[in-house]
């Protein structure tokens, strides 16, 4: 390491600083760190002296290889590709020389408190791209500026006469210097007073151009290590049998036969810690079998003789909960939350020319990740190494810290590529289990859930009932909208105040809020002991199905083309203020609607023998529409065409975006067609892929036609679940045209077959 290990940073914003670290000879490293105090940059020396200590960094080696750190966990959202490309473009790097390194959690000890040295680190919440746009461009821009200064000195040419191209600095007379040859000198250049400005977007080389997944070659050759693939030689494999009831107790346990299995080392009981919020401790009481290898552990698990006693949740029943929701909505009790109330819905209703009402029912859902919960833990007196498939390494750290009492920097969280997240891995029950087991056996532990446990012990999405009422005047204008929803909040038992529990269930700004003069949205809380938590697309997935189905029903009742109804509701292209301080651009929504309509030849809507359906939505400043064409052959539903248009502002990686949009569409279709979690006597009834059947290749459309609206004037937004909400209502609306059956209850196939 060089003796120069400190360097003042450049202030980016109130709390973020760009920093340069002189590493080994001839190496340039640039990163961002988050300051604790808002006053002065913290000397880099406090950060340690290896490149792994820098987050969101770029490192240029003397041989011209470029390493770029990927800070956010990649669950298949493509952030390990898209985020580094933002840095690489600002740097004018040669992408073929870039290697992406996944970063574990960046944490330092700040007087016993954690300091997050990489800033935010969270995946699958739709916020990675917008956050990266705000800071990662600066990292590349600074590295490029330093290289230019070094080149200017060496060539005797002012920096502003030099240009950069694909890892090379080029002088006006044609002389060329590779980045590798400049890296050492660049690391000694004094930092500018202000962060160098990012590139002119007109000269982007990588941003906006398609790129495949950076891990693709390793994945197709079976070389990518997921957490489930990692191992310490001396780790015991732990498999768990969970109590069917989160609040149940172990009644009887006989481990004689289990201990007789060769390789089985120990049987350990686990219990949720009282008072800990959902997602931070063991999900339900469990008996763990620890063995030298997976096969021995699984055999030992088979031989356990045990019985469980239900707790209070032992009387819960999903159909009874739904009936209770319906009763709440039919009654006159006050809602748990007034989500939004514009104008006067009751007065509008009195003046109505026409009133409509419909109720939509949606099931409980599981996350069904491909890679089951697992975790590898090694505990030492003054150190914990944890390999976890977590979407939120900070929260994993907090669980390990609480259970071990170690100081912040003694805990190391590695986050390899993750086999699907969908919100499940924002919770860390499996980390708590692995740590508790490692403590119990005083050995490293490799925890492995079975596929069945993944389904039957989850923090589910609650089922919901949505009662929608609309009021139309004589000119067929929508003058009133009253939405009442009942569900069990995903935020319950997580330390969230009661008056905020609605925020996981319904969006105050969702369509058609702000477009209808009299609009009311109320939410009724249900209680349940069945664990719940964040889920992909929540709360838009359930609400878009209800709202966009209902708009189709309104169109039908007026004998109108649903596209015309949608367009009249959106009105003229304009900016409409939303409650969150953001705006709804109706023009962008109209545009995506028209694009999918044109592509699917909506003009045939009335006369097509097939059914055409359409739906649109907006979320987090992005816009999406689906148009779907289906055919009914007897009782068989064939999804013939699916078109999806998205407007996400600037696109970082069109290939990645297309994959996300097509993938979210297929996930949403699979969910809407087939999936439901049910419980009886408090026990989840789905234990395998037959009970919870993700759609087969045959059930899904052969293609998803993705249209991306070019919109480089606006900053990029996240798209990992953007295309989920509109797929199900577009499908149900198409099914209605094809079969005359209106499906108001999901999963769709079961309900369609019941009604046909």
């Amino acid at each position: 390491m060089s003796d120069r290990t400190t360097n003042d940073g450049i202030r980016l914003s109130r709390r973020r600083f760009l920093q340069v670290l002189a590493g080994g000879a001839g190496v340039l490293m640039v990163g961002i760190r988050v300051a604790e105090a808002a006053d002065a940059p913290v000397p880099l020396g406090l950060l340690g002296n290896t490149f792994y200590d820098l987050g969101a960094y770029v490192r240029i080696d003397s041989d011209g290889n470029v390493l770029i750190g990927a800070r956010d966990p990649d669950t298949g959202t493509g952030v390990a590709t898209s985020l580094p490309r933002i840095i690489a473009d600002e740097l004018d790097a040669d992408w073929s020389r870039v290697r992406v390194v996944p970063l574990g959690l960046g944490v330092a000890d700040n007087n016993g408190q954690p300091r997050w040295t990489y800033g935010r680190q969270i995946g699958g919440t739709g916020s990675s791209i917008p956050a990266a746009w705000a800071d990662l461009r600066q990292v590349g821009a600074l590295a490029r500026w330093l290289l230019l200064q070094a080149a200017a000195q060496r060539l005797g040419v002012p920096a502003n006469q030099l240009r950069c191209e694909s890892g090379t600095v080029i002088a006006p007379d044609g002389r060329r210097l590779s980045y590798g040859s400049l890296a050492g000198d660049a690391s000694k250049v004094a930092l500018p007073n202000n962060a160098p400005p990012p590139k002119n977007p007109n000269s982007y080389q990588l941003i906006g151009k398609p790129a495949g997944d950076v891990d693709a070659r390793e994945i197709v050759t079976g070389q990518t290590p997921f957490a489930i693939d990692q191992q310490y030689g001396d780790a015991l494999v732990a498999v768990l049998t969970h109590c069917p009831w989160p609040d149940g107790t172990l009644e009887h346990l006989d481990i004689t036969d289990t201990m007789a299995i060769k390789g089985v080392v120990k049987v350990v009981q686990l219990k949720p810690e009282p008072g800990q919020p959902w997602g931070s401790t063991v999900i339900a009481p469990a008996v763990a079998v620890l063995a030298e290898d997976t096969w021995s552990a699984l055999q030992g698990q088979q031989k356990l003789k045990l019985s469980w006693k239900p707790g209070a949740s032992g009387s819960e029943n999903s159909s009874a909960l739904e009936q209770q929701a319906s009763a709440l909505l039919a009654g006159t009790s006050d809602p748990s939350a007034h989500v939004r109330n514009d104008g006067d819905v009751d007065a509008a209703s009195k003046k109505a020319a026409r009133r409509l009402q419909a109720t939509y029912f949606q099931p409980w859902l599981a996350h069904a990740t491909a890679e089951p919960m697992n975790c590898l833990v090694r505990l030492e007196k003054d150190h914990a190494s944890v390999v976890a498939p977590t979407q939120s390494p900070r929260d994993a750290w907090a669980v390990v810290q609480r259970l071990t009492g170690l100081s912040p920097a003694q805990i190391e969280i590695s986050v390899p590529r993750i086999g699907g997240g969908y919100g499940r891995r924002l919770d860390h029950d499996y980390v708590a289990e692995a740590v508790m087991l490692a403590q119990a056996v005083d050995k490293p532990v490799r925890l492995l859930w079975t596929h069945g446990q993944n389904l039957s012990h989850d923090y589910y999405r609650s089922g919901s009932v949505h009662q929608l009422s609309a009021v139309l005047d004589r000119k067929r204008q929508l003058t009133g909208w009253n939405q009442r929803m009942a569900s069990a909040s995903a935020l319950a038992r997580r330390g969230v105040p009661d008056n905020r529990l609605w925020t996981s269930e319904v969006d105050a700004d969702q369509l058609p809020a702000a477009l209808v003069p009299n609009y009311r949205s109320d939410w009724y809380a249900q209680t349940s002991s069945i664990p719940r938590g964040p889920a992909r697309g929540m709360p838009h997935l359930s609400n878009a199905f209800a709202v966009q189905s209902f708009i189709d029903e309104i169109a039908h009742s007026m004998k109108e083309d649903p596209l015309d109804t949608q367009l009249r509701l959106l009105g003229d292209p304009r900016q409409v203020a939303l409650s969150a301080g953001s705006t709804l651009d109706t023009g962008r929504l109209i545009n995506v609607l028209k694009l999918v309509a044109d592509r699917i030849e909506w003009k045939n809507w009335l006369h097509s023998v097939n059914g055409l359906g359409i739906a649109c939505w907006h979320l987090n400043g992005a816009y999406v529409a689906h148009a779907i064409e289906v055919a009914m052959q007897g009782q068989k539903l064939i999804i013939q065409r699916v078109v999806c248009a998205v407007d996400v502002g600037r696109v970082i990686n069109p290939m990645g975006l297309e994959g996300q949009v097509a993938g979210a569409t297929l996930d949403a279709l699979s969910t809407a067609l087939n999936l439901a979690i049910t419980f009886n006597d408090g026990q989840i009834q789905q234990h395998n892929d037959k009970d919870y059947p993700l759609a087969s290749m045959a059930q899904l459309p052969d293609a998803v036609e993705v249209i991306v609206v070019p919109n480089d004037d606006l900053p990029p937004t996240g798209a990992s679940f953007l295309a989920m909400p509109t797929a199900a209502p577009a499908l149900a609306n198409a099914v209605f045209r094809a079969s005359a059956v209106r499906v108001r209850r999901l999963p769709l196939m079961k309900e369609l077959l019941r009604l046909l």
């Binding site: 050759t221 997921f226 060769k262 086999g419 993938g663």
Partner: protein, 178 residues
Amino acid sequence: MAPVQAQAVPVTPDSSIVPEKVRDGIALEINGENYRHTGDPQMPLLWYLRDVLRLTGTKYGGAHGENGADLVLVNDKTVSAITVPMAKLADKRVITVEGLAANDGMLHPVQQAFIDEDAIGCGYCTPGWLIAAVDLLKRKKQPSDDDIDQLPNLCRCGCQTRVRRAIKRVAAGKAGQP
């Protein structure tokens, strides 16, 4: 002088060479290499690959291999690795995702086509799709959409439409081409 008469000396083999006893265990070939399993013959192939050989490309995909992430080729037939005990694999030839590429690193056309079409979601189930696709294309050089529909794999990330494109790309001989 009479020529020295060569005497017939009885030849005995080197004492270190002894007839080999019948060896215990199950001999099989995995990705072109020979292995002999002497542990529990009921151990499923999946755990032998993952725990014993540390070949972790083949993933755990459910107790019965429901989602197809644990598919391998056994004597050129697609099999869920968790459903086959080692006892049934004597003298069999197993190919896992690690064995699809040539020894010089040249990718199998199906692997290349998955990269070309970015037919990857989270990547966990990808090895299973690759094995199933290799098998399909071996049986049918020009698979129809209905043939592709029969693939047993599941994927929540929604890579199915891109997998379909990748298979068609291989059938068209365009793997690795723009």
